[in-house]
């Protein structure tokens, strides 16, 4: 294998970042990122599903007949998504409600099926596990980045998990009174995504020139 273990793990975070470089799983990316806490919740859900489905698919890859592999992958993924749904419903109902329809939609998140098909179906269990966590982390970090920009500029707050006397909302002085409201709306999300993608294009092209 050409990739070292470390590369398998880190490539999902920068070099093959699922959101900004390979552009997969965009629906939840823009749908839930109005608040930072939702981005974190969604990211954790995806890390869980992606890691476990990768591991299971890598385990079962010799038993699943090639012609029905996609339906088989979808069943495995859907089973883990159902687990995430039930756990979130029971323990963090606020996030469950905020994520709403996007939570069951993890099933059709292209990242997960994409990794199953492109990586887990022909790599070892341990590598698939690392790949799942790496890709999941890359996805989560992208979600947090988008959510931070949208929430800080669009609403003037940063919403985290409420703990004790801290209600989970950090207010940013000036922006709280004069937020750029459009960023929290659908149109702002699409515009922001366009500019971020352009930024990443510029960044990676600049890096190639220096090499």
């Amino acid at each position: 294998m050409a990739d070292t273990r470390k590369e398998v793990f880190t490539k999902g975070i920068f070099k093959e970042n699922p959101v900004f470089i390979i552009m997969l799983g965009l629906c939840p990316t823009l749908g839930v990122t109005t608040q930072v806490v939702n981005g974190i919740g969604m990211g954790l859900g995806v890390i869980f599903v992606l890691t476990f489905s990768n591991v299971f698919i890598a385990l079962l890859k010799d038993f699943i007949p090639n012609s029905i592999r996609i339906p088989a992958y979808i069943v495995i993924i859907a089973a883990f998504v159902t687990i995430v749904e039930m756990v979130m419903h029971a323990y963090v109902p606020a996030i469950y409600n905020a994520l709403g329809i996007y939570l069951p939609l993890i099933v059709v998140n292209c990242i997960i099926l994409g990794r199953a098909e492109a990586f887990a179906s022909n790599n070892s269990v341990y590598d698939s596990f690392l790949d799942g966590i790496g890709m999941g982390l890359g996805f989560t970090l992208s979600l947090i980045l988008i959510a931070l920009i949208r929430e800080v500029f669009g609403n003037g707050t940063i919403t985290l998990i409420a703990m004790g006397s801290f209600d989970g909302v950090i207010k940013i002085p000036l922006l709280y009174n004069y937020p750029i409201r459009i960023l929290t709306l659908a149109a702002g999300a699409l515009l922001l995504m366009g500019y971020l993608k352009a930024f990443f294009n510029w960044y990676s092209s600049r890096k190639q020139e220096t090499i």
Binding site: I70, I74, I101, P104, L105, V108, A187
Partner: protein
Amino acid sequence: MSYIAIFITYVFINNFILSQFLGLCPFIGVSKNSESAIGMGMAVTFVMGLASVLTYLVYHFLLVPLNLAFLQTLTFILLIAGLVQFVELVIQKNSPALYQALGIFLPLITTNCAVLGIAILNINENYNLMESFLAGISGGLGFTLALILMSNIRERLDLHPVRKVFKGVPIAFISGGLMALAFMAFDKSLLTNLLG
């Protein structure tokens, strides 16, 4: 909700792509020319209508009586995958012309968020059979509308100088954002104005 209200809601106000971000992948991927945009839109509308009816029936007559509602996600995605496969076979056998137009888009639809999205929305909103079907069709039409508009914009954009870093996907997102801005003119007050 009346039927007209459902139609307007899903085509304009809650447009699947421009306000709910469902089906963004084909929106960016298949909107390069208007012919494939129409093909994809029709295929999605067709499958969304059928899937709405099918998932409604299975949910209310199979999952709920058996107390298996928690298996909703798993069942729906399997139903949709099976349905897409079935539709592909039927079209291929009976109408080669239609198959040529829609064929290559059908496999992509299984993983289209919009289809699973409408199935879950129908259950969440407690629609009856007819309303579910209508919501499915309207959602598909809204998707088609956004896709066709987008493909026309992108065909024009190809003729204009765009900075290298913005070429392709970034400029598509920005155009989509501006389009979503325009679609914000359709909001809930439109319904009350129209229908009283």
